[in-house]
Symmetry: C2
Subunit: 335 residues, 2 copies
C-alpha cells in the first residue's frame, strides 16, 4: 500500500526536498538579498525548489522551466510615463529640423512647445502617431543604434537617473535566481520589441531571442546592393492583454510555468500560465511605495492594476507589496 | 610593425587554428560520417572551426552563433508532396463523416474520391482550403496532439517509411555538429509552426522556441472555465521568401551566421544571412539523386531551385550535390 515506509508518509519527498532546498539556499548565500523575509519571498523560493528538485513530485524538466516577465512597471519604472514614450518625445525634438511641418501639425506641435498633456491627451492616438513617426522609415539596424544611443544618455525627468538604473534590483535578483535554477527567462511586453532588445541583454541578461513585444511591420529590400529590413509605419502586433498569451504561444510554443506582471495588461498572461497543469507561479508587482517609487493601482492610466488585483486575491497568486517586500527598489547607485 | 614574429607572418593564427581544428576533429571521431570527403564537407568543417576557435580572426561568440534551417527538402523529403499536405489530406478523410457537405464540395470531393490532381490543381488555393479546413477550429493543444498522432503512424506513399524516418541523416549530423560547437539551431520553414513543433524536438533536437514557421491566427478565450487558444481559419503569417528574413528578425532579433536551404523560397534568408559582416556560411541542398531520393531543381513545382542556384554560383555559396556528397540519405533504417 505504501511505497516508502512510515518516514515517507510523515515527510513526503517534495516537502523534504523543499525544506532542504530552502535550508541549502540560506546556508550558502541569499540569492534574493533585496527581498525582505516574508510570505512573498518564501513563496518564490518554495516554488523554485518545488520545480527544480529532482525528488519533488512537482519537478519540471529544465527545458520546460519557462518564466515570462512584463517589462514596464514589472522590471523597470513606468511613471510618470513609459520610457519608450520619453524616447519618442526626444526623437521628435531631435528630428524636428528635418520636419518643418511639425511646427504646425499636432501632436508634434505640442511636443515641440513642451505641452505634453496636449501631445498625449488624445492619449492612445497622439502617442501612437508620435511612436510611428519616430520609430519607422529607417532600417532595423539603424533603429537599434538610435535606441541604444538614447538609452546611454537620457535621464528620467524627476529622478535624474539613467532609465537603465531605474530597473528594480529585486527583480534583477529574481531573474538571476531563476536562471541559476535553469529557467529560461523571457520578456513579454507591450513595448516595442526592437526598443526592448536595445537594452535587454545588457540590463537584464535576456538575449534578443527571448524578447517578445509589440512590433511594426518590416519590408525586406535592397539598398546600395545590400539587403536591409525597413521599419514601416504599420502595426504588426500589439502585445498586450489577450495578445500576450497568443504571442507566447507563437514565439515560445510552450506554456510558461511562471509569469510576472504588474497591470491588467498582464492578466491574460498570468491566467494562461497558471491554468496549466502542475506547479505554477503567478506574481503581480503592486506599486505601494510612494516614497521610494510611485504608489498606484486601480485608478492609474499607466499600469492600471484593477481586475488583476481582484483575480490575484481570488486565485491566491503572489502579490509583491513593494513597500514591505523590497528593501531596495532601484538597481542604480542609491542616493 | 609585426605583432608575433616571423612564424606569425608565415602562419596566421586563424590558419593554424583551422588546421588544428581539422586535425583534432579527424583524430577524435568524424562528426559528419554520412558526408563524403570533398569540398562541401571541408567547407562546413572549416567554417565551424573559423567561428568557434578563440584564436581565429573570424571568431564569433557563442551567443551569436545562430544557424537557420529550412525544413521541407532541407531536413526531410518533400516529394512527391509536402508532408503537411499529406497530413491535411488524411485529415480530410478522417473528418469526412462530420462533414457530409464535403461529398459534393471541391476540393474536398476530389480528395475523398482519391483524385489528388484535381484536389490540388487549383494548386495554392485547393491546398490552402484543405489546410485551413483541417488545421483550424480546435485548440492549439488539440492540434498538436492530432499532428503528433498522425506522425506516429503515417507512411510515405512511395517508400512506405514513416515520414520521420525520411529525415536526411547528413543533416542530422550537421545539426548535432553545430550544436556541439555552441550554435543555436533554428528551423525556419514555410510549413506550419505548430505542425513543425509536433516533431522538431524528437526528430531534430530543436525545441519549440527555436521553430519559426507559417501560422494561422489564434484567439484567446475561456472554455469550460479554462483559457484556451483557438486556431482560426485566417492566415497570420506566411513564412516564405522575403517572409523568412523578416520572421527571423522578429523571432530571433539577430542575423544568423549560417543558413541552410534547398529552394528559391530560401533565397532571401540566405542573402540576408550572408550579407552580414564577418564569416558567414550559406548552403543549398541540391537534389541530384534520383536513385536514392529525387532529382529536381529549376523546373520543379515543389522545391524549385532556380534563381537560388544561380546566386549560389555567383556568390560562392556551398551547394550540396546529394549524390556525390552524401553516403547515406535517410535517417531511418536502410532497406
Amino acid at each position: 500500500m505504501t511505497r516508502g515506509g512510515p518516514e515517507r508518509l510523515l515527510f513526503p519527498g517534495s516537502v523534504i526536498a523543499t525544506a532542504f532546498a530552502l535550508f541549502a539556499a540560506q546556508a550558502v548565500a541569499d540569492p534574493l538579498p533585496s527581498w525582505n523575509d516574508g510570505p512573498t519571498k518564501r513563496a518564490i523560493v518554495e516554488f523554485v525548489a518545488q520545480v527544480s528538485s529532482p525528488d519533488s513530485s512537482n519537478y519540471v524538466p529544465p527545458a520546460e522551466r519557462i518564466a515570462v516577465f512584463d517589462n514596464d512597471g514589472t522590471l523597470w519604472a513606468e511613471q510618470p510615463l513609459y520610457v519608450q514614450i520619453a524616447f519618442a518625445l526626444d526623437r521628435v525634438r531631435a528630428l524636428a529640423p528635418e520636419h518643418p511641418e511639425w511646427k504646425s501639425t499636432q501632436p508634434f506641435k505640442a511636443v515641440l512647445e513642451g505641452d505634453l498633456e496636449t501631445a498625449l491627451s488624445k492619449t492612445e492616438n497622439g502617442a501612437a502617431e508620435i511612436v510611428m513617426a519616430t520609430h519607422t522609415g529607417m532600417t532595423a539596424a539603424e533603429f537599434s543604434a538610435i535606441a541604444a544611443d538614447w538609452l546611454g544618455t537620457a535621464r528620467h525627468p524627476t529622478t535624474g537617473r539613467r532609465y537603465t538604473e531605474m530597473v528594480y534590483q529585486p527583480m534583477l535578483e529574481l531573474l538571476a535566481y531563476l536562471r541559476a535554477n535553469d529557467f529560461k527567462t523571457y520578456i513579454t511586453s507591450g513595448g516595442g520589441i526592437a526598443f526592448l532588445r536595445a537594452f535587454a541583454q545588457n540590463v537584464y541578461g535576456i538575449p534578443p531571442e527571448q524578447v517578445i513585444g509589440s512590433s511594426t511591420r518590416t519590408r525586406y529590400e535592397y539598398r546600395d546592393g545590400n539587403p536591409v529590413l525597413i521599419r514601416l509605419p504599420e502595426t504588426n502586433y500589439y502585445n498586450d492583454k489577450e495578445g500576450k498569451p497568443i504571442a507566447i504561444n507563437q514565439h515560445i510554443g510552450r506554456r510558461p510555468i511562471a509569469a510576472f506582471g504588474n497591470s491588467d495588461g498582464d492578466l491574460q498572461m498570468l491566467q494562461w500560465t497558471c491554468a496549466g497543469d502542475g506547479e505554477r507561479f503567478c506574481l503581480y508587482v503592486h506599486h505601494t511605495d510612494a516614497d521610494r517609487e510611485w504608489a498606484y493601482d486601480r485608478e492609474s492610466p499607466i499600469g492600471r492594476l484593477d481586475k488583476g488585483l481582484d483575480q490575484a486575491q481570488a486565485e491566491g497568486w503572489t502579490v509583491v507589496d513593494m513597500k514591505i517586500d523590497w528593501n531596495v527598489v532601484f538597481s542604480g547607485k542609491q542616493d
